[in-house]
Symmetry: D2
Subunit: 358 residues, 4 copies
Amino acid sequence: MSKTRTIRTQKIPVGILGATGTVGQRFVQLLDGHPWFEIVALVASERSQGQRYLEACRWLMPSDPPDSVINQPIVPMRPDLPVQIVFSAVPSAIAREVEPQFAAAGYLVCSNASAHRHVEDVPLLIPEINAEHVTLIEQQRQKRGWSGLIVTSPNCAITGVAVALKPLDEDFGLQKVFMVSMQAISGAGYPGVASMDILDNIIPYIPGEEEKFQQELQKLLGTVRNGRLEPADLIVSASANRVPVLDGHTVSLSAGFERAPTPAQAHAVLTSYHPPEICAILPSAPDHPLRVRTELDRPQPRRDRDTADGMVISVGRLRTCPLLDLRLTTVTHNTLRGAASGAILNAELLVAQGYLDS
Amino acid sequence: MSKTRTIRTQKIPVGILGATGTVGQRFVQLLDGHPWFEIVALVASERSQGQRYLEACRWLMPSDPPDSVINQPIVPMRPDLPVQIVFSAVPSAIAREVEPQFAAAGYLVCSNASAHRHVEDVPLLIPEINAEHVTLIEQQRQKRGWSGLIVTSPNCAITGVAVALKPLDEDFGLQKVFMVSMQAISGAGYPGVASMDILDNIIPYIPGEEEKFQQELQKLLGTVRNGRLEPADLIVSASANRVPVLDGHTVSLSAGFERAPTPAQAHAVLTSYHPPEICAILPSAPDHPLRVRTELDRPQPRRDRDTADGMVISVGRLRTCPLLDLRLTTVTHNTLRGAASGAILNAELLVAQGYLDS
Amino acid sequence: MSKTRTIRTQKIPVGILGATGTVGQRFVQLLDGHPWFEIVALVASERSQGQRYLEACRWLMPSDPPDSVINQPIVPMRPDLPVQIVFSAVPSAIAREVEPQFAAAGYLVCSNASAHRHVEDVPLLIPEINAEHVTLIEQQRQKRGWSGLIVTSPNCAITGVAVALKPLDEDFGLQKVFMVSMQAISGAGYPGVASMDILDNIIPYIPGEEEKFQQELQKLLGTVRNGRLEPADLIVSASANRVPVLDGHTVSLSAGFERAPTPAQAHAVLTSYHPPEICAILPSAPDHPLRVRTELDRPQPRRDRDTADGMVISVGRLRTCPLLDLRLTTVTHNTLRGAASGAILNAELLVAQGYLDS
Amino acid sequence: MSKTRTIRTQKIPVGILGATGTVGQRFVQLLDGHPWFEIVALVASERSQGQRYLEACRWLMPSDPPDSVINQPIVPMRPDLPVQIVFSAVPSAIAREVEPQFAAAGYLVCSNASAHRHVEDVPLLIPEINAEHVTLIEQQRQKRGWSGLIVTSPNCAITGVAVALKPLDEDFGLQKVFMVSMQAISGAGYPGVASMDILDNIIPYIPGEEEKFQQELQKLLGTVRNGRLEPADLIVSASANRVPVLDGHTVSLSAGFERAPTPAQAHAVLTSYHPPEICAILPSAPDHPLRVRTELDRPQPRRDRDTADGMVISVGRLRTCPLLDLRLTTVTHNTLRGAASGAILNAELLVAQGYLDS
């Protein structure tokens, strides 16, 4: 990344709700050395209270836990943390209850949970494609009387599809999407998928997954008009499969448009796409959110998931579709771009937009 | 299998062209103990001449090579074998040249190669769904002046799709198919896919594969009228992926029909499908070629590929499709039903239809 | 298997303690069609009472559950079953309590649990190598006043080592064993090992495993003298690893003897080993319990685990050891020979030895 | 890495022999951005002459090829390169012929090939454990009349064993090593191991591998006396297995010493080991070459191979051995520490020792 990013002389303290789970651990790992943020509150459930972080969690990330957190105490999940920004990595059932409490108490809640994704006045954000959706926060605050706010990041499998289709939607008018996902085991958390179920195998079903795709894609590609979100008018037919891959969701998809692009036109549009300008100053935003590959056999999850620290969506196999208009394949790092890094990017957007009290 | 099959007092001698390759080995393994056939000619390339079978091949099948073949000599690929039936397991380039020579010389060639699949007067057979296509042989013999014949079996990935869609086509009129395959590594032969390419990975491309699907499905589901094949009128959009699974091709598919079936109707039609009557006496034909699974997470390649010695197509996840009519998932054993066993079944059909000189 | 086995006109009714777990399911699958035994009692814990078998268990075996059991009711774990033989597939903590109750009440308990393996008067049986250990039952009954009995089968990883070393021990006097196991994930049960822990990985530790090996090997190769077992005098140094293999434990081992055999001598002794004569009439005993492979790269778990329905131990890579005398590699099917099939073979031995009341 | 390393104002130009193969690619990837070295000569076989690097190689590394090399021309394998240092990544048969030509012509050849590893006057180097072996170069030059030199790096599987045992050897006198390796597929190069051979499997044999271990370990732990190497007096018994792991060789080993250390003593010695001082200024040398893990289930290849950019050997499971003195497990990144990075570290050592003409 060659762009000049803002360097802050003093870091912004942040908290992590659910800091000991796998997504919470990913937040801890990613926020270590972050140019803007600094972890000062590790929040976990009752039974971890009084423990230090390293005692309270079974660390599963590839590298060691950062020295800066291993001795921090676990604190209770109450809105009395010495921070303004909290990342939420709690299960949806808990998120549904806790996140509004923090928002009401003035916290900026950047959630990775699915609990509020589908609520009309809660932005479902991918800054590179819909940064303007943050303006829904006005409606959210008015309606709920919150001094804080909640923003959410989308399902890990739809994230890459949305980023890949956004430029095409702008130019050609997306109408229909056929998608078959081949999702990595890390998407199921830990312990998640039993090895006896997935070695030398595929599981053609992920509970609750296929239903989310249409609603989230409509929202992600929707338009804010008069402070309200109008979902995009499109249909999604999806099949979700679990495959023996550690990280990186691969999606084979076909898309139909108002005006059919040729593969060459699609390639041109994808490579020349310009994210909203504000992304240029967000530390976690890659220089370009899309990487279009022209090799016949790419993208591949193991070889492409880590492009630009896992923040770039790899797209390839652009070709016409006999039924709709365009076939393509996407690969997205599900636990980075599709989870923790995505939520951190959202927090950066909030800061850049001035949502932080000075 | 509880059905009474014909027991033959004397077995029919058969030969295998390309007996030392992986498909050839599979033929050898499957024909050991076959109720009708007996291997008497193991044919391989020049460089194996003069060797015994066990010396000439690097045996890769799960069990040991049958005692009956290990000492048989390798014989040259010339149409002077003491058999009437030959199974062809040679590469397509060789098949293109050699198979017509054998057919001209009076041999019944049951080919697993793709060389002649798309030739109009060469039947592409799956007995349970298009046994009547054997009648194309009349046209073939007339046109070419052969006393023998060639019949072929389809691509391993389209086989399961064809068997699963045939009953639905009959009742509802198939028009459109969107399919994403997740194909096992054994489909690429040996050594085939490098382990460095597929462990913890997916390859979203299989050379030459996607193009075959529409043409083969049209032919498989076509109708013989006045001795000629009319291909089915349908469109296929396909994406082929290689996945880290040993055996068993999984396909996520959506299908559109003239008259949309409900999932319940589709279930009823699939379970009540009756293969042509002649299948009842073919030793390799399963009692029913389809197994419809109702568990949410089936079919799975590792758990379902071996159903009925790998001859049954497992179908599941029947549900409506927001874009076409029906979504479903199929699993097919690619090296059994989709290759060697399929060709053996074709040979059984030829015998049952009286194509063997008495 | 060409040997003539006894055919029984009437089958012996048997029960399975813990019939719904993975080992229990394996017993159910293996006993379906068994020439001597017939399942009449499926025993499971409280919470399954009143259910039929198919409702009570989440079936995980490769093929479907046998028709004969799917509607059988689950019965309570009390010694009032209409059988004389029970197979125990319950966890060790439960086995410790329940198995003696059944033995006291007259049942022949063939246990797969580790609970009583190390008890001096409980035979640890592999019929092909120590069938005479059943005579310990006299001591067991005298000491405990049981009309029934308990026999156990060994740990799945030591089983293959014991069978491979027994013939060598007889001829050369085994003294030292250095062994490194690479154990399949199925050895950990279900859900067992998380896929996140084992894909593209090795876990160099299996809780409680290494400690068992020396004690069990000493007992397995021990001698019964005056009705008491004298353990073999040998030392085992073991390291146990979990590897991403579904079934089949591979062990790299070196062995030291009183008199060092050459690899050729070892090969001769292994191939000419004669199991006790009584094994010839046991339906589950393979013709020969050992298969010595001479290919440089065998045995391999995926290619050799299923030899003779998983009952044969494959041995290979016989070569001298610079530190001890002989290096070799063994592969054993851990859930067949190393678990359920092993316990069934023990039951067959008890029947053949006349332990069943007539 | 917090140590201050020398920053060079002008980089040292280097060449890579065999730059298009997998090891050559790894050199290209690792040397991109290296603080001391800069690639100016990409050498490959005849058939790549005249091509640019990106055309000539099928790039297989995880990230993209560095911009600085993609347009560099492939140059012939002749000792007329504008560099003093060449890294050799050619097959051993070619290395045997070519490396001496370059050494004779004044080049410093840092070889990853096995060709000259066992030659008495060619240093087999791991700077952290035997940096003083570079002095063998005097003997080499005298004997052969070379103005240049050859140094080699060891087999990827023995590297970790040597680093882990060196501190123990110093304090307790190593005498005997039992080792069973579980080696990653990347060790076999590309295409290397067929996926059909290794998925759900182990191959208990790696051609030519076991034989190397004793000779290389004796040399690595040997002593230079009067300008000549005295190999360490020790015996190695090894079994080499290929496992379905991408990168990272795991070794289960037992070691016997003149004076038996307790696990606690071994732990203390390993953690307090000081590499030769010169390592402190080598850019690729980690702060400490060993990481001793105390978790019961570590080290694991996937979780530990990348420690300190793959340069640290992870050691764990320190415990007594019933046969020798100490059991332990090591994990080493085979294509980084065990191959390209190791050779780069050797080149850094040569530079730091003043072997470069000024």
